[in-house]
Symmetry: C2
Subunit: 225 residues, 2 copies
Amino acid sequence: MDKIRVIEVKRSVFDDNDKDAAALRSELKHRGVFLLNLMSSPGSGKTTTLIKTINLLKDKLSVAVMEADIDSDVDAKKIHDATGVKSVQLHTGGMCHLDADMTRQGLNSLDLDGVDLAILENVGNLVCPAEFDTGASKNCMILSVPEGHDKPLKYPLMFSVCDLVLINKMDVAPYFDFDLDKCREYIKLRNEKAEIIPICAKTGEGIDKFADWLINQTKQWKDGN
Amino acid sequence: MDKIRVIEVKRSVFDDNDKDAAALRSELKHRGVFLLNLMSSPGSGKTTTLIKTINLLKDKLSVAVMEADIDSDVDAKKIHDATGVKSVQLHTGGMCHLDADMTRQGLNSLDLDGVDLAILENVGNLVCPAEFDTGASKNCMILSVPEGHDKPLKYPLMFSVCDLVLINKMDVAPYFDFDLDKCREYIKLRNEKAEIIPICAKTGEGIDKFADWLINQTKQWKDGN
């Protein structure tokens, strides 16, 4: 891959995003592809977390990645160079989120034959991406320690739509007033079913747990559970 | 002030936000009120920076603050308790940004008589707030060290609309791969006129420079420059 492919995804023509998302999810189920929608604030460590996790996973699952960004091309290349998996850059043309049709445009540009796990790295934003069902099998978000443990109180929708919350940059916890117990409590206030895994993408702490979660979820998805 | 006031601001009925923003800016100029629009990602330290800065400023300028949030009330109370200045909480009802009419609704709820400097703390989001002129005299953003020095490449519009970029959490720079020179270079690529001040709201580093910038800007605004 000499140059990473860039796909300009356009705003959906569908009025009813929920309907379109449900249709996409059903197609992916039929094809046996588990789609993870990964969301977070800018700079919380989505790309680094993916690189570490994919390198643990790639012998067990066939992985493909879509990197959504407003207009830079850095991440898809970084993912491909560091992991060797298929990756594509999606440009949202200023849009602050992806909807199901934009996600479908991205998936169509990847060859999904044989892919077990497709990962969508959504635009860095704790607000808008939570409002749009992308058609993903599961939603996951990263909250990083420097952002503060109060974020579930301030961005409630994001925490309530996520099945899994990764708490990243645990290595710098001693330098910030971050209370992990309070953070867990606030997340559970918003979403009592959310699973929570503290990680550090830099040191690798907890990445095995995230990889195991993805392997189990992909298996359950394929098994029809 | 027993309980902080909460104002539910509604999406603007104006189609033409730019026209409305220009009208608001002109009214504020006429009244001698400098309005700062402060933007950033979630958790980059907007509220803490404001508290430290207002405590340096409040003997020189009369300050009032609007805290915009999706639905929490924490920040307006925090600002009032820590500084004593007038503050009001604006609820955006899920909206990811403020436009000029929403800003006007907030200003109308504050008594602006005698106020020199009004500060709008926008919703924590590096994407959408950059797209809407609020009618502010100047735009300022905070980028924090843990977010990474590459953010001007990935969120270009935000950096291009800001007159001042504060780089916060300089105290933790040794624990992150943050290159201040590269960050300055990337900001200048987006906006060569942007001023840049490295700060640390926790230790107070650089807060005097931000306070001086606000005092000078407010004076120039009142003097008609």
